[in-house]
């Protein structure tokens, strides 16, 4: 590692950790990732992630044997929670991994061809998506497809990319008239060079900041679809369908609902704090 590289890492860590909250967020996120990866090892009752019925142990409140109690079929809530984390995180990462490149390409083309029909067509399509409430659109899309985790991700991706298109469009259309872009055009650089080498380095800060902030919101959206029965189907555990199962038994069997709900809150909080820190590195205002 060169000294400059080392120095820049130290400086970025200093900016990231300013205030301390982002470090807490980072710890939460790392713990959740570790729990998700090692769920089969950590979970006290790994078999409970499937369709198991143990009537003798059903509806038990939290105890040392069942940290978060058991559900109506006698399955360990803590074990099911651990197994649901993987799908939850995958949802956040995959949705963004697909929607961010799509949004970037659409936004950069619309911004680069500002004031032409290309901008008009692309940005009006973006406007149409943005004008429908996100959740309503996702519910509508998910409900016309077979309900499972993959299709709920597709539904969220479809309504998520326009935000990145608009973000990129805003940045690129203001950079469009910078002299270095003009110079690249005049000297004969291709569109690929201009997009990847000139625009992308200037847009990446905002995109990365928004991505880390967005993972949490995507996860909420995924949990909402799953709560509505449009995500992962039982018996496979997901935070949303676990809450849905537990809601009927409130307030007596509070542990069925509270623990998955708190988990969602922790995940979203963690990613948001990390997002704020990433924003501090790049001097981007969080939303």
């Amino acid at each position: 590692m060169t000294p400059e590289r080392k120095e820049s890492i130290v400086r970025n860590w200093y900016k990231f950790s300013a205030g301390g909250a982002s470090v807490v967020g980072l710890i939460i996120v790392i713990v959740i990732i570790i729990l998700a990866i090692f769920a089969p090892i950590i979970a006290p009752y790994p078999e409970d992630a499937g369709a198991v019925v143990k009537f003798s142990e059903s509806k038990l409140p939290p105890s040392s044997k069942h940290l978060m109690g058991t559900d109506t079929m006698g399955r360990d809530v803590f074990s099911r929670l651990l197994f649901s984390l993987k799908g939850t995180l995958l949802m956040g990462v995959l949705v963004l991994a697909i929607s961010v490149p799509i949004g970037f390409i659409v936004g950069v083309l619309a911004g680069y061809y500002r004031d032409t029909w290309i901008e008009t067509v692309l940005m009006r399509i973006v406007d149409i998506f943005l004008s429908v409430p996100a959740l309503v659109l996702a519910l509508a899309i998910a409900s016309i497809m077979e309900p499972n985790l993959r299709n709920s991700m597709i539904a969220i991706t479809i309504m998520w990319w326009p935000w990145y298109a608009r973000l990129t469009f805003g940045v690129v259309s203001s950079l469009r008239t910078e002299n270095y872009i003009t110079y690249a055009e005049l000297t004969g650089a291709g569109l690929g060079h201009i997009i990847v080498k000139e625009f992308l380095p200037n847009t990446i800060d905002q995109i990365l900041t928004k991505m880390t902030l967005d993972i949490g919101y995507v996860i909420i959206m995924g949990a909402t679809l799953s709560f509505a029965g449009l995500g992962e189907q039982p018996p496979i555990p997901a935070l949303g369908n676990m809450i849905n199962d537990g809601v009927k038994f409130l307030p007596d069997m509070w542990w069925l609902t509270i623990f998955p709900a708190v988990t969602i809150i922790l995940i979203v909080l963690g990613f948001n704090l990390v997002g704020d820190g990433v924003g501090n590195i790049f001097n981007v205002e969080g939303n």
């Binding site: 400059e4 270095y180 003009t182 005049l186 000297t187 650089a189 060079h193 000139e198």
Partner: protein
């Protein structure tokens, strides 16, 4: 004089406005640029200097007229410049803040023209970048620096080095020093002069700073509202300016010493402001501010005449073949 590199023939560039009118930014400019010279193009803000630069370099298409570069008309409708022409005609912009991508280091910015216009491999490109930096008098380790970490003058020198990357013959300098501190200006100018001698470059030097032209330009052209007023070799231009507008400009240069004060023409208070290029005055465009305005000036557009060898002027006061009137001194 030597070979003509660039010739503008009656070049016009209008920008249409909503409502049928148009901004006549450049309205019939004809001039020649010879190999190895520096042609200073001087005028007030909004007179069309930069529009000429951008039209020649290919940012805008010309509305009318011809831009003949080495025998090819670049302004022809539908004519796409080939890669070689894009490399041979280069530009250095006015604003050093926006001419380099703030997210790419100096070396990467310098590599772009090399990637496009040369067949050098990766290592050869790095060597060439070192060479280019040395040419403009910057240390080699600048290629790892980011634009925000170097000064305005240094950024401008990097822009010059970048323009040299494609081995150009002709560089358009669009007010390359007007955004810089005076102390830094001198360094950039002397580097430009040095490069011209070494590489045989031709410059179209656009500026509003007449006193700078005295030391830099081979010939000076004065532009007013998109039309040329006067074009003369530098010594002749400063010694005997003919056009009333030129005289007004020269008399308004601030001077520091008594010797300079003596050479300076008598102070002519400039009247009025530059009219809008949307509603150009009839006849001679300068008649609204001219102290020698005659009746003919308001009606008839004057034509450019060669009043003395290579001294051109565009004013009704002068007729081809007639001796220059005494009132000039």
């Amino acid at each position: 004089m030597s070979e003509v590199i660039l010739e503008l023939k009656n070049l016009k560039k209008y920008f249409p406005l909503p409502g049928g009118q148009s901004v006549k930014a450049v309205d019939g400019v004809s001039l020649k640029l010879f190999k190895g010279e520096t042609l200073g193009l001087v005028g007030e803000s909004g007179c069309g200097k930069s529009t000429i630069a951008y039209t020649v370099v290919g940012m805008y298409g010309a509305t009318e007229g011809e831009i003949i570069y080495k025998g090819t008309n670049l302004a022809q409708k539908g004519y796409k410049r080939n890669l070689q022409q894009k490399g041979e005609i280069q530009i250095v912009f006015q604003d050093p803040g926006s001419s380099l991508n703030s997210r790419r280091n100096v070396g990467k910015s310098l590599e772009l023209p090399l990637k496009i216009h040369t067949k050098l491999n990766k290592q050869e490109r790095q060597d060439r970048i070192d060479e280019l930096l040395e040419l403009v008098g910057l240390p080699v380790d600048f290629k790892k620096r980011m634009p925000r970490n170097i000064g305005g003058g240094e950024r401008q020198l990097v822009s010059v080095a970048r323009a040299l990357g494609s081995n150009p013959e002709f560089i358009i300098l669009d007010e390359p020093t007007s955004a810089l501190d005076v102390s830094v200006q001198a360094k950039v100018i002397s580097t430009l002069i040095h490069l011209q001698e070494k590489l045989g470059l031709s410059y179209l030097f656009i500026t509003h700073d007449l006193s700078l032209m005295r030391n830099v330009a081979t010939r000076v052209a004065i532009l007013y509202l998109g039309r040329l007023c006067e074009l003369a070799p530098t010594a002749e231009f400063f010694h005997r300016p003919l056009h009333p507008y030129t005289q007004m400009l020269l008399s308004s240069i601030p001077v520091a010493t008594d010797e300079e004060e003596k050479v300076k023409p008598a102070q002519i208070i400039s009247e009025g402001e530059i009219p809008s290029p949307v509603n150009v005055p009839s006849g001679c465009t300068f008649h609204t501010r001219c102290r020698d305005c005659m009746d003919i000036c308001k009606v008839e557009v004057p034509v450019m005449i060669e009043i003395e060898p290579s001294h051109y002027v565009c004013c009704h006061k002068f007729k081809e073949g007639e001796p220059i009137a005494a009132e000039v001194e």
